[in-house]
Amino acid sequence: MDYQRLLYDAISCGAPIILCVLGGNFAHKANVLNIALEGMLLMGAFTSVLFTMLTKNILLGILICILINLIWGIVFSVMCVTKKGNPIIAGLAVNMLATAICAFLLKVLGMANLNVNSIVNVAGLKIQIPVINQIPFIGGIISGHPLMTYVSFIAIFVMWVIMYKTKFGVYVRVVGENEDAAVSVGINVNRIRYIAVLIGAVCSALAGINLSLEKMALFTNDMSAGIGFIAIAAIFCGSGRPGLTSIYAIIFGLAQSLAINLSISAGAYSGLFNTIPYFMIVFILAVVSIIKMKNNRVRGFKNE
């Protein structure tokens, strides 16, 4: 097996998961379970390609895509923050709506998939970092990714700073841990939750852009393939801490890259390798949960 290729793909597959995870962390810490990441990611992937195709301009496409995802974030937070609805059901509704709208619009446009190869040059979007790409083995792994992949790794640090070093980060954590205490010291709980959800919406828009526009210049139905849910698994494993959850995100990215690279030479049964990421996530989530349970000293059964 080509190890360089494997690790390159691990970073490449890990990037959208990291972005989703970083966005979802704030909502998780603010005690709103944001299942809608999957739908927002798909919507980001779809709208970025669609509007790049319509406006013939990548930057404009990306901008409109982020705006549309902000609207989705507002819809989701109106439902579960202002109206106090069930976030799991609202989130799944957003996911189903995103899938349905993509399928519906593709049918209306009369296309099987959206292709913007003529506008976006995929090879041209890959950034070669000057000095690093000269290093033998490692250069080929780290260098040559599109912009959003680098953004995702920089974002780990940025989000860590926001979460632990700013007033906003403290507020988010207070709101999640004790809502009444937050209200009593005059924090506008709903506003904090709105912002937390909207950060998730923007991050998943970036993840969607990375997935469709930057890597393939192509949108096909169901291309998100559960990445949003994988991100939620990573958030659960790392209990919403930016650094730890990103490490889990990279591990899950590695699992996906293993699946891709193993299935190249496997013939008819190659599809079986595609199940590796899913089983691995269930396994890791189980192990982490068991360890957490061992450290838990509360008596009885607690449903979270």
Partner: protein, 361 residues
């Protein structure tokens, strides 16, 4: 009075989201330049108002009733079994393999074996997340969602390699033997699967309403810690619930296979899938058996009707999936809750106005 008021509230809570979803759906249809009223009329004309069409609606409602019950029994206890879709596919695939590999069987025995294999596979697939949830506190939602993808991928590989029917031009298994098929009754679309569904439905009605398990499910859903503290074995109850849920989904898959599809194809469950439809139905029915029955028939009418709007109204039938998503979105909130006093507000306003006018006089 209180009972009537409660029923009225829950009816309004189910009807308002549906109306909102249809209103937004109508706007979308207007935007693409079609008439929403004719589109909606075409959708329900044949499926609800003709005898043959209504029988077809009931036929397609059977798996939906079962998946609706499967979702409701776990959601009611705040356990989110999202794996109904995967369990349904597993059950369908198992019954399909038994259906075509056992030759020249007695039809009754063959049908029973097929249904049982579907139920058992559905239960097995539900058992994994159930044990992980009950004994190791692993979030059941993530596990079931992940297993859905894994099961779909594995079945896809199996259907396109080992069990592939070489004669078919697309990826599909061999069709099941005629001894395993449910035959149509009296020239309508109804098969024996519908009466079986109704029997299961009645049994589930008693589980929900009259049994100890039903009461305990409600209690766990209201307050898990209180249920635990008052002596219920929550862990064991979670396993029971998930097993029942898996059995219902497996039965839905097996029945749909044997009454409608007869072979496993990659789009067996359609889009967005019978399991996800079940979620809408459970929410629409307010996790109540009777509500689920009505919601399943209503949604089945929409879904079967959506085929004709693609042909007669120039609107892509994917619009039904959009409306479905909108309905779930609006069902996630309570439009009117116990505290909003619709009738009281109405009364006080009416009476105070009357009082005011009297005062003026």
């Amino acid at each position: 009075m209180n009972k009537v008021r409660k029923l009225g509230l829950s009816l309004l809570n189910s009807l308002l989201p549906v109306l909102c979803a249809f209103a937004i759906g109508a706007v979308i249809i207007l935007i693409i330049g079609q008439n929403p009223l004719t589109t909606y009329w075409i959708m329900i004309k044949n499926t609800l108002f003709t005898w043959k069409g209504f029988m077809k609606t009931l036929h397609y409602a059977s798996p939906l009733i079962l998946t609706g019950l499967a979702i409701a029994i776990t959601f009611k206890a705040n356990i989110f079994n999202m794996g109904v879709e995967g369990q349904l596919l597993g059950g369908a695939f198992a019954s399909c393999i038994i259906g075509f590999s056992l030759k020249s069987m007695n039809p009754t025995a063959h049908v029973i074996i097929c249904l049982l294999s579907g139920i058992i596979v559905g239960m097995l697939f539900a058992l994994v997340p159930a044990i992980l949830k009950a004994y190791f506190h692993v979030n059941e939602m993530v596990v079931t969602l992940m297993l859905n993808y894994a099961i779909a991928k594995i079945l896809q590989v199996l259907a396109s390699t080992v069990f592939r029917d070489k004669a078919a031009g697309y990826v599909a298994t061999s069709p099941i033997e005629s001894s395993a098929m449910f035959n149509r009754i009296g020239g309508t679309s109804i098969t024996l699967f519908f009466p079986i569904t109704i029997v299961v439905f009645i049994a589930m009605y008693f589980v929900f309403k009259k049994s100890r398990l039903g009461y305990e499910i409600t209690a766990i859903g209201r307050n898990t810690e209180f249920a635990e503290a008052s002596g219920m074995n929550v862990r064991r109850k979670i396993i029971y619930m998930m097993l029942i849920s898996g059995a219902l989904s497996g039965l839905a898959g097996a029945g749909f296979m044997m009454s409608e599809k007869f072979k496993y194809t990659l789009d067996f469950s359609g889009s967005p899938g019978l399991g996800w439809d079940g979620m809408l139905i459970a929410l629409l029915g307010g996790h109540d058996p009777i509500g689920i029955l009505i919601a399943a028939v209503f949604y089945s009418a929409l879904k079967t009707g959506s085929d004709s709007i693609g042909i007669f109204a120039n609107v892509p039938k994917e619009i039904v999936a959009v409306i479905q998503g909108l309905m779930i979105l609006f069902l996630s909130i309570r439009f009117i809750d116990q505290r909003t006093k619709v009738f009281e507000n109405f009364k006080t306003r009416f009476i105070s106005k009357k009082a005011q006018t009297e005062e003026v006089q």
